[in-house]
């Protein structure tokens, strides 16, 4: 049962990874990288590692994505002003 879920999740994750790499839009790439992390945290949960799952969900898919988006926003606005 777990195996099947992991295989399904895995296929989605691999697809998302390819999308993240090849997508023209940076924003969608960032979001799909976040999705990979989110699905990874589900995998961790299935692998009986709830601590890791929580951390991955919060840091991997949450904070990391946010930081990427912040960077993108900074660049879109033309970098730093000094």
């Amino acid at each position: 049962m777990i195996s099947i879920i992991i295989i399904i999740l895995g296929i989605i994750m691999i697809a998302a990874a390819f999308y993240a790499i090849h997508s023209k839009s940076l924003l969608s790439a960032i979001i799909s990288a976040g999705v990979i992390s989110l699905l990874a945290s589900v995998v961790y949960l299935l692998l009986a590692a709830p601590d890791v799952a929580m951390t991955e969900a919060a840091i991997g898919s949450g904070l990391t994505t946010i930081i990427f988006i912040f960077t993108l926003r900074k660049i879109k606005k033309g970098g730093l002003d000094d």
């Binding site: 709830p50 601590d51 929580m54 951390t55 840091i59 949450g62 904070l63 926003r73």
Partner: protein, 227 residues
Amino acid sequence: MINRIFILLALLGLILMFLPFLKDFDFHDQLGDLSSQYVEGSINDLNSQNVVTSVVVTYRGLDTLGEVTVLFLATAGIGFLLRTKKRSKKSRKSSELLQTASQFLLVLIILTGIYIFLHGHLTPGGGFQGGVLIATAFLLLILADANVEFNHKVLHLVESFSGTFYVLIGFLGLLLLGMNSFLDPTIIPLGSFGKLLSAGAIPVIYSLVGLKVGSELTTILDKMGGE
């Protein structure tokens, strides 16, 4: 083109390197000696329900201190990289409603975060997860009002002192229990198994880690998200 071929070769080579490992992979069906010792030690020596927490905070406490340091360095590094002479002030008001809502949420999320790291030795999660949650609360503030002025002084104080106390608690172990007891949680009575006030200094350390991680991540978010 040649470049592509080399990339293909490199990746193919890596796959071939890893393949035997996957082929011969043979899952253990029981815990190794060390892990068993950890599980039993967590129950018997540390009175901590969450074995991962015991490992993170105690047995591999030095790693965790290092990890906190890494995050601290990242904060300092980002501050160092993105150092600007002056912060420009531009105001962009967001709606009142969003602000009020976010402030309400802020308190709620922070409380949840604190709950998580206080229960680190009992339930999944701990200092890092709680800390991230606290940072998320401040993230909401940033998103609601990009120019939010945190009280940086408080942030710095929390960041500096939580870290300092973390190290000092470790140091207390050295003072009280001898030269091999840096970061020993038994400087505080262990309490009874399964209770909030148990596992010696683990909840204290994890709370400090939580505060430290929370304030550090907030600083990172502020540095990268602020304008």
